[in-house]
């Protein structure tokens, strides 16, 4: 049961991919994409996080129960951020307080 041993080359590939994506996210921040700057930054960050979870944290080789546990966390994070923001962006009772105006 010694578990899956990933080859060193895989770890190096993931490391280089993470470094390149970091450079890409810095570069993308200086390009005017309008509303999409934030979206691009978050997509890159989510992709980097996925690489770390999948390969460095060995979730790829983990049991279905472990995968389900990870997915549960992401599911509830989505509810927390998603539903909260829907309320704040779309409902009048959460209008922006503007100090000193």
């Amino acid at each position: 049961m010694s578990g899956h041993v990933s080859p060193v080359s895989l770890y190096l590939t993931i490391f280089i991919a993470l470094m390149v994506l970091t450079a890409v996210t810095v570069f993308a921040a200086f390009v005017d994409l309008g509303q999409f700057n934030f979206l691009v930054a978050m997509i890159i960050a989510a992709f980097k996080a996925s690489l770390v979870i999948w390969y460095f944290m060995h979730v790829k080789y983990a049991s279905k129960l472990t995968k389900l546990t990870v997915a549960t966390g992401l599911f509830f994070l989505t509810i927390l951020l998603g539903l909260l923001l829907i309320d704040y962006v779309s409902k009048a009772f959460t209008a922006m307080p503007m100090p000193l105006s």
Partner: protein, 271 residues
């Protein structure tokens, strides 16, 4: 009662258990599965713990985007990018440490873990430099908080010459600071409103990076214990679970930073 006796009899027979196998598990695989799921349940609570802060950040960013954009520009992007690279590299060394433990290379495991701790310390060192800069520029929320133009004028006129002569890292924050003092476009907030709302940004900045740094310190503490265990030869290819669990924690802290970097440093850099 009779079960316990039967169980005790089981242990009497010839086949030897791994010394790390606890008596309430049948096999090493079962034991490890329980630990991995337990660790992930803990990490899920951590995801939602930081998630609450991300939620607060999102709401204030949507409300006071101009303040977040201006305040974010005052951060030095090169320190943030450097720290991102340092943490990603430390994730690689951590993964290599776990791999060395899996393949029963005691010495390599210890070395990789030590390198990981050193990289963690480098990250914290850079954070100290950044925090000191915030104190210097009155960007710490509270009584002495001062946003931009009002207080930048004397400090830039005083230090313009010497800053130009100083080393690159120390000039960079000043340059970005001066740039931030001049609005990059028509802002929806006046100076007094910026003074208030940029404090919200910096409150979140210090809370999020501070809690992240606290996790790093805890991580280094855990790693010290694990490295000692590895050094004493407590692990082999059958049992390296503590190294792997420390790795999961370390990678999680890395992931938090992967999100913190664009959220705090790259709010609006293109104008």
């Amino acid at each position: 009662m009779s079960n316990a006796v039967a169980h005790a009899d089981d242990h009497g027979h010839a086949h030897a258990h791994h010394p790390a196998l606890q008596h309430h598990f049948d096999t090493m695989a079962q034991q490890k599965e329980a630990v991995v799921v337990g660790m992930w349940v803990f990490l899920v609570t951590e995801i939602l713990f930081f998630g609450g802060l991300f939620a607060a950040y999102m709401i204030y960013r949507v409300w006071y985007f101009d303040a977040f954009a201006e305040a974010s520009r005052s951060l030095d992007i090169s320190w943030g990018a450097l720290n991102t690279a340092v943490l990603i590299f430390s994730s690689l060394t951590m993964a290599m440490g776990v791999r060395s433990a899996q393949t029963n290379q005691r010495k390599a495991t210890v070395n990789w873990l030590i390198l990981t701790m050193i990289l963690g310390a480098v990250f914290l060192g850079v954070k100290v430099i950044e925090y000191a800069d915030k104190f210097e520029h009155h960007h710490v929320p509270g009584y002495n908080f001062q946003w931009a133009a009002a207080h930048e004028a004397p400090s830039t006129s005083l230090g313009a010459g010497e800053h130009a002569a100083a080393a690159a890292p120390s000039t960079a924050p000043v340059a970005s600071e001066a740039a931030a003092a001049e609005p990059h476009r028509e802002l929806a907030l006046n100076a007094d409103q910026l003074q208030l709302t940029t404090q919200l940004y910096f409150s979140l900045y210090f809370t999020m990076t501070g809690l992240h740094a606290l996790h790093m310190i805890v991580g280094i503490g855990i790693m010290l214990v694990i490295t000692r265990m590895a050094y004493k030869g407590r692990f082999d290819e059958q049992y390296y679970t503590p190294v792997e669990m420390a790795g999961l924690y370390w990678h999680f802290v890395d992931i938090v930073w992967i999100f913190l970097f664009p959220l705090l440093y790259l709010v609006e850099r293109h104008v």
